[in-house]
Symmetry: C2
Subunit: 147 residues, 2 copies
DNA sequence: TATTGTTATACTCTATAACTATA
DNA sequence: TATAGTTATAGAGTATAACAATA
């Protein structure tokens, strides 16, 4: 939007790239948010279910995954537990610790949301034929994996 | 993550594409959020400043841009106004309406944030040489523009 | 009556600081 | 003392419903 590229030592195409990334990021977040909301879940709750799909972390570990304070996670897990989506399990080896696991209900809702996401993503990706789609994935993966 | 691709009429590569888009979206949001937070702004407040950079919308219009209820926007603008970032202006032609405009201070902070975003985005994009970067932009633009 | 915006209320999300219980 | 987790508290963000003022 600005003409920063004129003044700084940019490699070129940096701002259009930034704009495109910002826009796609908001588009995807909106999409995720809408589907989650249709199941009465916030994006954070959805992330929680996603993390618990194949893990049973403690609260601190969970805070790490979610990039939240442990006290925030307490509340998050409280609300999810009240809704029967997750469960706190005492840890035999350490009386202070607990592990958080997903319930059958939580897993079912997660699966339903994942299913519901297929359509919107298919629509979003429709403009790209398979070859270009693969190209996009390769480019994004390179950004993500070399972070 | 699931094997949905086995059961539904997918074009192929749909889930890796979805995963990549979700991941990049969270990465970008985190980046934006961190820079905004370093100026004590939420992502929504940052969006607000961005919208007001070249517009003076009414509350309903603003709610449309932000995809929020008008009452939510009232609070949002309240807080931004208290911090001196935006201003409510009465509209001569319609006694019910107001226009929201950005203050010099708001514009300055927005500019500072935009400046601060250059580095992190440059780092994120570093793995891609110019040609591939252009390719990525072209692919993303096609997704975004044909929504 | 319809429209623009605000207010009242309630809940989620988040953080900081203080606390409890266990190691 | 250090660590895992919770609680107390506060504020932002959001929605719904009711309201006030103007059109």
């Amino acid at each position: 939007m600005t003409d920063a590229r004129e003044h700084e030592g940019s490699t070129g195409g940096e701002d259009v790239a930034r704009d495109a990334l910002v826009e796609i990021s908001f588009a995807v977040q909106q999409l995720l948010g809408q589907v989650a909301e249709s199941h009465d879940l916030s994006l954070t709750q959805l992330r929680l279910l996603g993390i618990l799909r194949d893990r049973e972390p403690g609260m601190l570990e969970l805070a790490g995954y979610l990039n939240l304070e442990k006290s925030s996670v307490s509340g998050l897990v409280d609300r999810a537990e009240q809704r029967g989506l997750v469960r706190r399990k005492p840890v035999a080896a350490d009386g202070r610790a607990i592990h958080v696991s997903i319930t059958r209900k939580g897993r079912a809702i997660g699966a339903k949301i994942e299913h519901d996401l297929a359509q919107p993503f298919a629509r979003l990706l429709r403009p790209l034929p398979p070859r270009q789609r693969a190209q996009l994935v390769a480019l994004l993966r390179r950004l993500l994996d070399e972070r």
